[in-house]
């Protein structure tokens, strides 16, 4: 007997593929932002599916803050080679040469210069008119209200009060020169959906997501990995070995680990279902100020 119903995951997959194809068809110069995280890995897989047996018709772009975990960069370089992706890596050269970093300049300045400004610089440089991001609506309050096609003015700003209505699966791709659209094909996925999909599709992810003995330091209640010698000596000397993993990946000094025994996807999901903290609480940057994510989004951050 033929069945005409889809599981939640298959329905989400179809929705995302439709969105990705729609962007490729209607924009002149799209790009897919690749953060090396688990959501990005899912998004790239969806793009591969959307154009199979062809190649993904747009480049991936990684905004390198120069403070990513080393394992992330290794992972990135390995898969770019293996999969033949067209990958652009961009970083804020000026700020990097000035030595901007979270330990010396604080998380706010670092994030602004090495992430937000670097992103804007790259978008301007390559004149992308659409940029895919892997953000999900269940991640954070202000994201819950964002459209799938999120309009940005020529300064890349988001105006939450003045969003285009978005109905059915009909997306408005009309923009003037200089304006752009951020596209979120994973909008309707939850953290559990992502893990389930990674499990079902065998999607490779950075090993940092799995629990392992790692050297960490407790900084203001966050367990920070000692990833390289740029961490000041005063912290490094306090490092202890703990079995930890990461729920999200960003800049290593700004991303807290959690103590965990979960070294398989099943265990990660089990842990996630029974505990405690939502994923972004391990992101130090959210605590800068009240409603800080909304503020960053207005300024052009994803």
């Amino acid at each position: 007997m033929e069945s005409y119903s889809l599981s939640n995951l298959k329905e989400l997959e179809a929705e995302s593929i439709h969105i990705i194809r729609e962007v490729a068809a209607e924009f002149e110069n799209p790009v897919m932002l690749y953060s090396i995280g688990k959501d990005s890995s899912v998004m790239v897989r969806l793009a591969e599916k959307a154009f199979y047996p062809g190649k993904v018709p747009f480049p991936l772009m990684h905004i390198d803050s120069k403070w990513k975990f080393r394992e992330m960069i290794e992972f990135r370089d390995k898969y770019v080679k293996e999969k033949g992706w067209d990958l652009i890596v961009h970083y804020n050269k000026k700020a990097y040469e000035q030595g901007v970093g979270p330990f010396t300049h604080g998380s706010k300045v670092h994030t602004d210069l090495m992430k937000t400004q670097a992103l804007l610089e790259a978008l301007n440089k390559y004149k992308f008119d659409a940029a895919f991001g892997g953000a999900r609506r269940d991640e954070e309050k202000s994201r819950a209200k964002e459209r799938i096609y999120s309009f940005r003015d020529k300064y890349h700003q988001w105006d939450p009060k003045n969003q285009r209505p978005e109905l059915w699966d009909i997306y408005n791709a009309k923009i003037h020169k200089g304006e752009s659209i951020r596209v979120f094909p994973l909008s309707n996925w939850t953290e559990l959906d992502i893990w389930q999909y990674i499990r079902l599709e065998n999607i490779p992810i950075v090993p940092l997501y799995f629990a392992k003995e790692r050297p960490v330091v407790d900084i203001d209640g966050n367990l920070i990995l000692v990833d390289d010698e740029r961490m000041p000596e005063e912290y490094r000397k306090k490092a202890v070995m703990k079995k930890v993993r990461f729920r999200t990946l960003g800049c290593y000094p700004l991303t807290g680990a959690i103590e965990s025994e979960a070294d398989t996807i099943e265990k990660i999901v089990e842990e996630m279902m029974t505990v405690t903290k939502s994923e972004r609480t391990t992101r130090v940057i959210d605590f800068d100020q009240e409603a800080s994510m909304e503020q960053k989004k207005r300024e052009g951050y994803f």
């Binding site: 194809r21 599916k49 209200k145 209505p165 978005e166 109905l167 003037h176 089990e270 903290k277």
Partner: protein
Amino acid sequence: MNIKEFLDQDQKKDLLRFLTAGSVDDGKSTLIGRLLFDSKKLYEDQLSALKRDSKRVGHAGEEIDYALLLDGLKAEREQGITIDVAYRYFSTAKRKFIIADTPGHEQYTRNMITGGSTANLAVILIDARKGVITQTRRHTFLVSLLGIKHVVLAVNKMDLVDYDEKVFNKIVEDYKEFVTQLDIPDINFIPLSALKGDNVVDVSDKMPWYHGKSLLEFLETVHVSSDRNFSDMRYPVQYVLRPTLDFRGFSAKVASGIIRKGDEVMVLPSRQKSKVKSIVTYDGDLDYAFPPQAVTVTLEDEIDVSRGDMLVHPDNPPTVSRHFEAMLVWMDEEKMDPLTQFYIKQTTHTTRAKVDHIDHKIDVNTLEKHDVDALQLNDIAKVVITTNEPLYFDPYKKNKATGAFILIDPVTHNTSAVGMITGEYKEGKLDLRITSEQKDKIHKGQGLISQDEYVKRYNQKGSTIWISGLHGSGKNELAFSLERKLFDLGATVITLDGKSTRMGLSRELDFSPADRAEHLRRIAHIAKLLNDQGIITICSFASNDENIRNQVAEIIGKDRFHLAYMDADIDYCKKNADDDLYERFEKGEISNIPGLDLEFQKPENAKLVMNPEDMQDNLQKVLDYLSENKIFPAG
């Protein structure tokens, strides 16, 4: 059950998207907070953050303010209202849910329409103390407009009416009476208290008279997968894949119906036919695909197919037409300009469209129909639309995927309106759009074309060249040669002279001063009408009386009346006349001849004075005059 078994089972869950509608006061946010909370998806830290926020801006006194969990944006938090659509996610062992949380305020109809467009079900909240109110009717109407087939009327705050069955029953009755006017096949009523948790997740013991399911149980079990259209195959091509010379695939999300390998398909608009060779996906080829699967189809034959085309079964095509009727919801802050050539996007097809006619606007509160000229934010109206290229569509009721469209403003690029097609509009029925302002004009006998439009079209200003002079002075020669010259130069011009007008228009009039006055009054009105419609009029009449000439100027309008005088004395005229008028006067056969027994009052105010001996010069004088005064050419 171990975690692996849990995951294996969990991945088979299906998805229910539902809309919640109600106002701040109905406790909607509390209900959603409760659903999320009680289904154990509120993480601990979100709760602790919530406790911190509650102290500062909380509105619920000692209780936890669930609403704070939901209102994401800063400004909203301060106002204590939800102003946009927010999407919430939660899961139970049986289903995953996506809630589109939309506000109840009238000015935000557009957000409810937005949130509801993808929903299978709507939860409409009612405050048990208030019963069915205007807002309930509005929400229900919008839900039926969007074609949502399942409604739950959640009668909230039952704790505040002592869980009284009678209160609930009265609301059910009222609602049923109202809802019969609308088209919603499945309606369910649940009494609950979001604040106390009664009948939200667990069936409450406070209302033993209620024998139905709790809200969550209902949401977990309601059957919605058959709501899709599986009968009319529509495959709107989204992307043409051509990775190698021997692979040409057409990617799309199946909009409706089932497409099978081997099916004969027809391509719209070309109507070429072929067979489905394969249905390709990354995970392997399929024998058939159904909505909302996103696949790639290859065909047996090399035929031309591009984005925006549609594959259908030849024996079951959609309507192909440029004219259709639709329910339109205006979403733009800017009022509709009826002249706008919008972009219309329907399935994957984009073309231009114009709203030809607004049949009526619907008052969302009373469902009454009103005539309007243009639509404003949150207006809902039945309209007629014409597109540049034909669309391939079905009525929205039958097929949401091919019956829905958006209108995009060509300048601002806003999504100005969204629509649901009700059916084809038959050619020939198209009528002219007439606004109430225009109706007024017609009522007053004014045309709908403005002076500016005439000036632009004809490149001239509607004016009268009035040539006065004695009989035989040569004014007719000037009039007709001027007409000829202007015509040749591209002007639109009409000449009125005594002979032609007295044969018909004024045939009962004689040459007495009274009848002469009446005759010229008629001519003046004709000249005015012609001038009103942009036409240059040349009038050649003796018009001996100064007063009458002034009256004529009044009628035509002084700025449009240009008097020319053919300055010839009676002796010249007697010689020059080509008929026997003057002889007959001499014989006493006729009387009332200007210059003889009627005084000819020489015009002192003529703009142009002509010399009867030099016609060439006269003609040039008039042309120069018209050009200098930008009468012709106007540009």
